[in-house]
Amino acid sequence: MITIFIGVTFLLGFYMAWTIGANDVANSMADAVGSDSCTIKQAVIAAGICEFAGAVLVGAHVTDTIRKGIVDPSYITSIPGMTQSHAAAIIVIGMVSALLAAAIWLHVATAFGMPVSTTHSIVGGVTGFGIIAAGWAAVNWSKIGQIVASWFISPLLGGILSFIIFKIISGLILQHNIPTRRAVRYAPLLFFFTAFVVISAIIFKGMKHLIREESLKWLNGSMAILIASGVGILTTVWSRIFLKKRLKKYFRSSLSEQLEKVERVFAPMVFITSCTVAFAHGANDVANAVGPLAAVIDILRNGNVQMKVSVPPWVLMIGGIGIVTGLAMYGYKVMTTVGKKITVITPSRGLAADIAGMTVVLLCSRLKLPVSTTHTLVGAIIGVAFARGVGAVNKRVTRNIFSSWLVTVPVAALLSIIIFLIGRLFLLGSIIDLIKSGSGG
């Protein structure tokens, strides 16, 4: 019986992950595709691989916040007259409602072509359930406050960072009268920074899960920095040699040809950074699908509400596979419908936006703040636009994207409340029984 219920929740988690993949189709690869650094097909495939990797290797961090950071389960257990199993059942129903509500909203939004934030949806869903189940006090409003603040701060930070990075690229390399020469001198330093952030991100975040193992204990903070720097230096040296050989013959070419060659040099870097953004996105967003699922599994297995439980890797894998499936199916559609390819930005712009976006998202994941990867990326793109780097940016779409969370959070909360009330009405009894039987009273 428990297995059936877990199975249903599993399917829900998978459905949610699928809608996440579908709604966010390769947005993380936007800078690579937009700057013509890879084809749409390559983008979808790369996104699939990297998002899955991010979900499985890193997902556990953010999952914690969704699970118990927003709603404090002890408020529910401490309601007078509430038995452990009753409280546990409430939480189970609540988490499932949140999941279902968020997934439905996402599905609707995707059908209407609206890029809404998956993170905002699930946070809205969980908050809605919390308010109804145990009153306003049960919701950790300061945490919600932090989360909402991060929704403002992450695009802002992304924008500021990308502005700075692009100004540097633009000022040091592109605006010189011999850009290729400057590229040979300064691009390797840029690549050092990129490699350093990418590798430390992968180690700190990706391996954290595995670092718990004794065999990898040596892979701690200072060791990680050493490795990242090492890879960075290797990248710098190699790229210096490569660039010199490749660009030397263009030192005397026309300005437009030089600029074109320099941009081409940045293209592979943009692809790599976009892949890392996809990795960060997978890490951040899998929690949205899997968080509630993990909570439910915890409770059904153990019968009471525990504070600290680890997320089993197979749960993360469900999330990962779900995201990839949604991505692939909708990605296929996008690949076949997008006909004319308009190169809207050049690789240098994409690189600045990607590095900024990836750094901010990874930082926020580290701080256990569930931020919207897409919003951060959009913020980063705007930052480059402010540095006079982009030909034309659609202000209205930008405004719509950012204000969409004003709609998303209430709608998801409302849906979640409705589903919760229905669930509690019909299923409370059976779930209490399930838990009692599962934990032996």
Binding site: D24, V25, A26, N27, M29, A30, V33, G34, I40, A43, G113, P115, S170, G171, L174, Q175, H176, N177, L255, S256, L259, E263, V334, V338, I342, V344, I345, T346, T374, L377, V378, I381, I382, A385, A387, R388, G389, V390, G391, A392, V393, N394, K395, R396, V397, T398, I401
Partner: protein, 225 residues
């Protein structure tokens, strides 16, 4: 990728370059037109005027395309007003060339044999003024790539500076030519003198249009957003 489709608008700077190229094609026909008039080859004048008209029409198409694809809701690296003005001014050059061609077409004006050299020299100088602007305008794509700053922007500003000086020289040539015409007024009929004036004024309009375009381009670079 749903983001790129929606967030990024098509950059206007590529089409602006295309527009500049069309205008340049018009300008290139000025010496030929003047030459044809002097040699009284009126069929060639007609033919060239047709060319100019067609090119001016194509430039207009590009201008309309740019305007259509650049709604106010787009955030640009330069001030929206400056870009609109720049396009307007650059298009005005092509209009001025067309006006010049039409004046040569509507009346088979004979250029006095003592004045032919000066007329030709004046026309060629106007072309060099406009050419100077065209060299700057054709850097539009590079300017966008280098975010309207740095070495490229400085180079274009220098070109525009030189443009101002050449336009001033054109004014002087115009005055001298006019004076020479009036020295010969006894030998010329009034309508011919009228048309000499029309020709000279329309040529100087071309130079003025080029100068104004350069001014707006300078503002686009310097003012920022």
């Amino acid at each position: 990728m749903t983001i790129i489709n929606k967030i990024f608008g098509a950059s206007p700077f590529g089409p602006l370059l295309e527009h500049a190229k069309k205008v340049h094609e018009c300008i290139k026909l000025i010496p030929e037109l003047m030459d044809a008039l002097i040699n009284e080859d009126h069929e060639r004048v007609h033919c060239l005027q047709d060319c100019v008209s067609k090119l001016e029409y194509e430039a207009d198409q590009i201008k309309h395309d740019i305007r259509e694809n650049l709604p106010r809701r787009y955030f640009l690296p330069v001030s929206r007003e400056d870009l609109d003005n720049y396009l307007h001014m650059q298009d005005h050059i092509a209009d001025a060339v067309e006006d010049f061609a039409v004046i040569l077409l509507i009346r088979k004006t004979r250029i006095h044999h003592d004045l032919t050299d000066e007329f030709l020299a004046f026309a060629k100088h106007i072309v060099s003024v406009a050419d100077k602007l065209m060299v700057a305008a054709k850097e539009m794509q590079n300017l966008a790539e280098t975010s309207f700053g740095g070495a490229e922007a400085r180079k274009v500003l220098d070109l525009i500076q030189g443009l101002g000086q050449e336009e001033w020289k054109a004014d002087r040539m115009q005055r001298k030519l006019s004076m020479h015409i009036y020295e010969k007024e006894k030998e010329l009929d009034p309508v011919t003198i009228l048309f000499y004036e029309k020709i000279i004024i329309s040529l100087s309009q071309i130079a003025n249009a080029a100068d104004n375009t350069g001014e707006v381009l300078r503002m686009m670079i310097v003012k920022g957003r």
